[in-house]
Symmetry: C2
Subunit: 231 residues, 2 copies
DNA sequence: GAAAAGCAAGAGCACTGCTCTCGTTTCTGG
DNA sequence: CCAGAAACGAGAGCAGTGCTCTTGCTTTTC
């Protein structure tokens, strides 16, 4: 992987792999995962369907590759949004990131469904995907760490955190240190709300009740920002 | 639909329709939507695949029927949980309802995926489904109306609701009246959080970070209850 | 009792993921 | 430089899918 392809064949292989992935992405954007047809990809590329199997040993492997690509793309969108806001404007950073993820999801409906919708048939996402998948939540946690480092306190909550809940996110605390338990729960709740809000909107569950999706999303994200104590 | 089946044939038709639905449900629980095979259902019932089309004109119609069944089932579970708690124990009612939906989702993974995961291929859920689909959110809104009627106030929020956001859920306000704008946004946010939390957990997005899913879910729901000002 | 409607079954179409084989091309080691 | 090995593209084929159409049979209805 590290060395560049020297031979013409290896170069051609990289190129074709990329072309298949690209065509697969186009297919995905058009018909959604589950309907993604390996044969159709091969057809559009003018090659035999069996030839595709030289590059991706199965349909699931293709989907996994697309999964990684989409995680990276949405993660990059969120990171770019975060980077576009001054570091101290914490609330604005949250609003920018959440808005960016929603915008990406709306522009890439099926891709969002692939990432955060029902998991495909029986296959468990392999280890390769967890890295890219964590880009978005890690950025959110980074914001929390920044807020915490700035000494900004949260409004106290009525209910106490159980010991089990506290120790539950120890793995996260090791990777992104410096976040208090209360704020950690707040951040994870915010993440759930964000994904839930986008999912409800995109998958049509708000169709009967909410008229202005933009305003509604903004209102919810503002509320979350209040809850997180973001100034 | 209202009159009972008089003829033997009509009775047989009702029975067979039910059997197909039941077998489809079994299939669904085993392999998930998208993999639900009409031929397999027919095989298990010992009938020709073409015969099933006398009862369900297409695979999507079968899925729609299952969709309604599952919405009703989950809605009934949430309602039962709500009814099991004294009306004035508002916080407990919220925790019971959210816990019940999560429990149902965990026990009916693919069914939950069918309801709240990626929408199936190209088909838009027909009008028949929206009624059953609204049972859960309506129950949550009912709780909010009860709280509001009891004169319980919410902790004031920092950010103001935009005019667009306020008027956005006018359709809901007509069906479930007596809920203030602030609490309405809070309730819809709570709904998003609930669905997001269950989705993240069930679809494996918490696998790398959270150890104790029960405790984590409880902590988030407690937090939401605080936010909603539930005593 | 005859006509009409509902029904089950089978064949068939077009499609899918995937495997295997068969020539061909390209790379590599002596 | 050239033979063996590895990679490759194409095609046929298998088992499966949703769905349609035709063919007989049964039940209902007039």
């Amino acid at each position: 992987m590290a060395d560049q392809p020297s031979t013409a064949r290896a170069l051609n292989r990289k190129e074709l792999t990329r072309a298949i992935l690209e065509q697969g992405r186009a297919q995905l954007a058009a018909v959604g995962p589950g309907e993604l047809s390996l044969r159709a990809v091969a057809r559009d590329l003018g090659m035999a369907s069996s030839a595709v199997y030289r590059y991706f040993p199965s349909r699931d492997h293709l989907i996994t590759a697309l999964l990684i690509e989409c995680y990276d793309e949405s993660g990059a969108a969120v990171e770019a949004a975060d980077d576009g806001v001054p570091k101290q404007r914490y609330r604005k950073r949250w609003l920018a990131m959440s808005g960016a993820l929603r915008a990406w999801a709306k522009q890439n409906f099926f891709e969002y469904a692939l990432l955060y919708g029902s998991p495909v048939p029986g296959y468990a996402a392999p280890q390769d995907t967890i890295g890219p998948a964590q880009r978005v939540p890690f950025r959110l946690l980074g914001l929390m760490a920044d807020v915490e480092a700035a000494g900004i306190t949260m409004a106290p909550h009525q209910s106490r955190l159980s010991r089990a809940a506290r120790s539950s996110f120890a793995p996260i605390g090791e990777i992104v240190p410096g976040i208090g338990d209360e704020r950690m729960v707040g951040a994870l709740t915010a993440w759930a709300t964000l994904l839930g809000a986008i999912t409800l909107e995109l998958f049509g569950h708000l169709e009967q009740g909410v008229l202005d999706h933009d305003a509604h999303f903004s209102a919810m994200m503002d509320r979350i920002a209040d809850d997180l104590g973001l100034p």
